[in-house]
């Protein structure tokens, strides 16, 4: 799909649109290659071509929408969109007025086009199998071209198009012990692949020591950026949503109410201005480049979509429906990454966390597991890998009273999610040194 193919759908809509009705059209699609690896070999490999549009018809305060898969064949898609307009036009009058509907009242065009060509996945596959020979390599290569688009009856047009890839992988030492890493971007490099694999292999040696079990209790701990991402992703799941906050369902209720706060070094920002994903929402609103969510430990703003704004009579900031973060960044601190191990001194080095979930939402208390590579540290040195441990902590402790330092360096972590389609989301975070991580099991 290219902008002209998407644009061709508009005349088909207008031709079938009943007089007085308005429309909006949001589209997304990809030409992706996926290669799944296990034990350094290919488990599954293939290519997926897919596109979809969400068509909305609006008559005053009544409206309905339908998501339609695109065939990629212009004549077929024109028929599908015409049929969808006809069906929606019959449905809209049957629906009650929607008191929370808000449409864009100004036209804002955007265009984000990255002309980079996607890597040749077949060459990538050969390179990966070559570079990982002799290792227990497992993971996924996902790459290709993606697009997002918006059009409405006011003439607004938005287009996002980019090529990218992500090789998200683990090299397994034994059982559940592994080094997890990834390389991603827009331009593939065999040299970068080899460097990444060699670095992971060198870290494997730290897992050679017999693993150690520690009893439940609180331990000093260093969370790598990959581990911090897991905490922030849980927090993001409705936590920054204005709707959740208004309905008192956000895990950050106490922060929003001013009854609790995070450490003054914690600043979180939705940073859509990076341009790694589309700047427009499916509703056709364009978000500001930055929305500060937590400033110096205090609640600052929520992600507010137009619908929530009308319902609760608050201003919106162009957030996507669902009000989840797409580009969350956490400000770095003053601890040089290279000194993190020494500053930890004695305690637990947590490379990865896993399967976080709430254990008491009101208290922002959550649980989760360590995963892949967690180490017992003494005298600033990795002493032995630890068996996986379960923790149960509150956000206000972990990133509040127990936060000792954040690293100066922040790490960009593209989302590896490929549910339904490849994600364009990312997080950028520092590592975190904490005085106490409470292990329970």
């Amino acid at each position: 799909m290219n902008p002209s193919q998407f644009e061709m759908l508009v005349p088909a809509i207008l031709a079938a649109l009943p007089q007085g009705m308005r429309f909006s059209l949001y589209g997304s699609g990809e030409e992706s290659d996926f290669v799944r690896f296990n034990q350094g070999k290919v488990r599954q490999s293939g290519s997926v071509s897919q596109g979809e549009v969400s068509l909305s018809l609006i008559d005053g305060k009544r409206h309905a929408s339908v998501d339609i898969g695109l065939s990629g064949v212009d004549s077929v898609d024109a028929k599908r969109i015409t049929s969808a307009v006809t069906n929606l036009a019959q449905t809209v009058p049957l629906l009650p007025e929607d008191p929370h509907l808000l449409l864009p009242d100004t036209v804002v065009h955007t265009s984000q086009i990255d002309d980079t060509t996607a890597p040749d996945a077949i060459l990538v596959t050969q390179a990966v199998c070559q570079a990982t020979k002799g290792t227990d390599f497992v993971g996924i290569y996902a790459g290709g071209r993606q697009w997002r688009a918006f059009a409405n009856d006011m003439g607004q047009r938005n287009w996002f198009e980019s090529s990218s890839f992500l090789l998200d992988y683990s090299i397994v030492h034994s059982k559940d012990k592994a080094i997890k890493s990834s390389i991603g971007g827009t331009v593939w490099s065999d040299q970068a692949l080899v460097q990444s694999i060699e670095e992971a292999k060198s870290q494997l040696t730290a897992l050679n020591q017999p693993s150690r079990a520690i009893p439940p209790g609180s331990y000093r701990a260093y969370l790598t950026p990959a581990a911090v991402v897991e905490v922030l992703e849980l927090m993001s799941y409705g936590g920054f949503s204005a709707e959740s906050q208004q309905r008192k369902s956000s895990v950050l209720n106490r922060l929003v109410a001013g009854d609790a706060q995070l450490d003054a070094r914690v600043t979180l920002t939705e940073d859509g201005g990076r341009g790694l994903g589309p700047k427009f929402s499916a509703d056709g609103f364009v978000a500001p480049d930055q929305v500060v969510l937590v400033s110096k430990g205090q609640h600052a703003n929520a992600l507010t979509c137009p619908r929530t704004a009308v319902e609760f009579d608050i201003p919106h900031n162009g957030a996507t429906p669902g009000e989840n973060t797409q580009s969350l960044t956490m400000a770095g601190g003053d601890l040089p990454q290279a000194e993190a191990l020494a500053r930890l001194g004695a305690g637990v080095w947590v490379s990865n966390l896993w399967y976080l979930n709430h254990s008491d939402r009101n208290a922002a208390r959550f649980t989760g597991m360590t995963r892949f590579a967690t180490f017992w540290v003494e005298d600033g040195k990795l002493v032995a890998p630890l068996d996986v441990m379960r923790f149960d902590a509150t956000l206000y402790d972990l990133f509040g009273k127990d936060l000792e330092a954040l690293t100066q360096e922040v790490q960009l972590m593209p989302s590896a999610s490929t549910y339904e389609a490849r994600s364009t989301a990312f997080l950028e975070v520092p590592g975190a040194l904490v005085k106490a991580l409470p292990f329970t099991l």
Binding site: F34, N38, Q39, V42, R43, Q44, S45, G46, S47, V48, S49, G51, E52, H63, A64, V66, D67, G69, S71, G72, V73, L94, L95, P96, D98, I122, T125, V138, G139, I140, A142, D168, S170, V172, D176, A178, K180, R247, S249, N253, R254, W354, Y355, N357, S359, D360, R361, N362, A363, R365, M369, R371, R390, D392, T394, T418, Y419, E420, T440, L441
Partner: protein
């Protein structure tokens, strides 16, 4: 359309590959919700496409496309063959050794009145009434009544003449009530997490008693606001079927998936504490534990006639009297692991390849009536409806939370408890299964949201279970 498509596929078949399949998936989804008496924008989606899978020269490849034309099919076959060629010799299995089935037949969900055939105004009114009926107290700050309905038609064609058509329809209602007072927020639901979802049409709402649930749900939500926290300590734990669903899913279903055991999921969904050598003799649970792969349960969410690799689906006991007998593994995993499995190789839609999934995975009923089951407990907690779940990479150390608890004292249900949680280790937990409820205690649940795989896939699975009693479990509540 299907006949024309089949002809285009067969006309496009090249002679080189050992095996080529084409799976057509045509799905329609609808999501309706009434929130605080306001009808939310209905969401409908329609999608159709095919995935071509090729086994050739020992390699394998797939190509998924929404282009159903002759040229679209030919292009997809060509791309899949490219992948097969390049992966020959570097695949985890030599696909030349696979003997894929040649399935033939049709299968349909039992449906009395298809959801889509009921006028939209009636569908919405049903939800409006439920939402309104929950408005019983000013501390209720959110009421939502919703339905997710799905209609999926699949056509599987194989190069050796196989042809299977399957049509599934499902309806999943949910009603939730959120209450807030004095800084505390509590939620109670019917079908929370879309657990009360079944194959069928609008009659599913009657089967589940949806219209009658709002008052009870609202009353329980308010009671939670006034309830004490769940106590902490080692005690007896009784789980309702809508929590057993999650317990089965996470600590039996995922660990015995054969692709996990073979290592495919280690970078994402995780590995398993179960190893191939355990099958046939490992004591997974107490002798009361019987677990079936049950694709034949009428109306259960993941019932079907064939899996997406074309293997005919049959009921099999996977755990018998506590002994682990068989993994959840489809034909390809069975060949890789050299072990018998089940027909559970499925793809979530046309844009994803097949892999091992749970389908319906059920705990079989015992013979103890509920009152008798409770009578044997001096001190414990009864928990209902999952709200939080977390389990380790190997599916061993878990911690689960529920919406509502009930104290059990001297064999009787007592006061309501809020924030009930428990934790344990799978390998020990099922051995503490002390009593299994009789058929009158069985609930049929499921989830449309089981996620795993690279690329990621979300698929529907079903879990039916009686009420079950576990002894000596680590139970705890929320923060003070």
């Amino acid at each position: 359309m299907h006949q024309a498509l089949a002809k285009r596929f067969r006309d496009a078949l090249p002679t080189g590959p050992n095996h080529i399949s084409m799976r057509l998936v045509e799905r329609r989804d609808e999501a309706l919700m009434v929130r605080n008496d306001v009808v939310q924008p209905p969401g409908t989606s329609e999608n159709i496409g095919i995935i071509i899978t090729v086994h050739e020269g020992g390699g394998q490849g797939y190509a998924a496309t929404p282009d159903l034309s002759a040229s679209g099919i030919a292009t997809a076959i060509s791309r899949a063959r490219q992948w097969a060629k390049i992966t020959a010799g570097i695949s985890v299995i030599d696909t030349g050794t696979l003997a894929m089935d040649t399935p033939k037949g049709e299968w349909r969900s039992p449906v009395q009145t298809p959801w889509s055939e009921v006028p939209i105004s009636e569908r919405i009114d049903r939800l409006r009434q439920a939402c309104a009926a929950a408005a019983i107290d000013e501390r209720i700050i959110n009421r939502e009544a919703s339905v997710m309905a799905n209609d999926t038609r699949t056509l599987l064609l194989t190069s050796d003449g196989g042809e299977v058509y399957q049509h599934t329809q499902s309806v999943g209602p949910e009603l939730s009530v959120v209450v807030h007072a004095n800084g505390d927020t509590q939620r109670r639901s019917f079908g929370g997490g879309r657990g009360a979802v079944r194959q069928g049409g609008i009659e599913v709402l009657d089967q589940l008693g949806f219209d009658a649930c709002p008052l009870r749900v609202a009353q329980e939500a308010i009671a939670l606001l006034e309830a004490p926290n769940c106590p902490t300590g080692k005690m007896d734990l009784v789980l309702a079927p809508d929590q057993m669903m999650l317990q089965i899913h996470e600590s039996i279903g995922h660990p015995i998936e054969l692709d996990r055991i073979l290592g495919d999921e280690r970078n994402y969904a995780g590995t398993s504490f179960v190893t191939l050598d355990m099958f046939g003799h490992y004591q997974y649970g107490s002798e009361l534990l019987n677990v079936s792969f049950a694709p034949d349960v009428t109306g259960q969410l993941a019932s079907y006639g064939w899996d997406d690799d074309g293997t005919q689906a049959e009921r099999v006991l996977l755990i018998e009297k506590g002994l682990l007998m068989r993994p959840l593994g489809g034909s390809i995993s069975q060949k890789r692991g050299n072990i018998a499995g089940v027909a559970n190789s499925r793809g979530c839609s046309w844009n994803r390849p097949t892999m091992d999934r749970m389908a319906n995975l059920n705990v079989e009923a015992g013979n103890t009536p509920l009152d008798e089951l409770l009578a044997g407990i001096e001190h414990g907690v009864f928990m209902q409806t999952n709200t939080s779940w977390s389990i380790d990479d190997s599916r061993n150390k878990f911690q689960f939370g529920c919406e509502i608890g009930r104290e059990i004292v001297d064999g009787k249900l007592g006061k309501i408890l809020k924030n009930p949680n428990y934790r344990g280790i799978s390998a020990n937990f099922w051995r503490n299964l002390a009593t299994v409820g009789d058929p009158s205690t069985v609930g049929i649940f499921g989830t449309p949201f089981c996620g795993k795989g690279e690329p990621n896939q979300v698929i529907s699975v079903g879990h039916a279970s009686p009420v079950c009693h576990f002894s000596n479990i680590d139970v705890f509540g929320g923060a003070a």
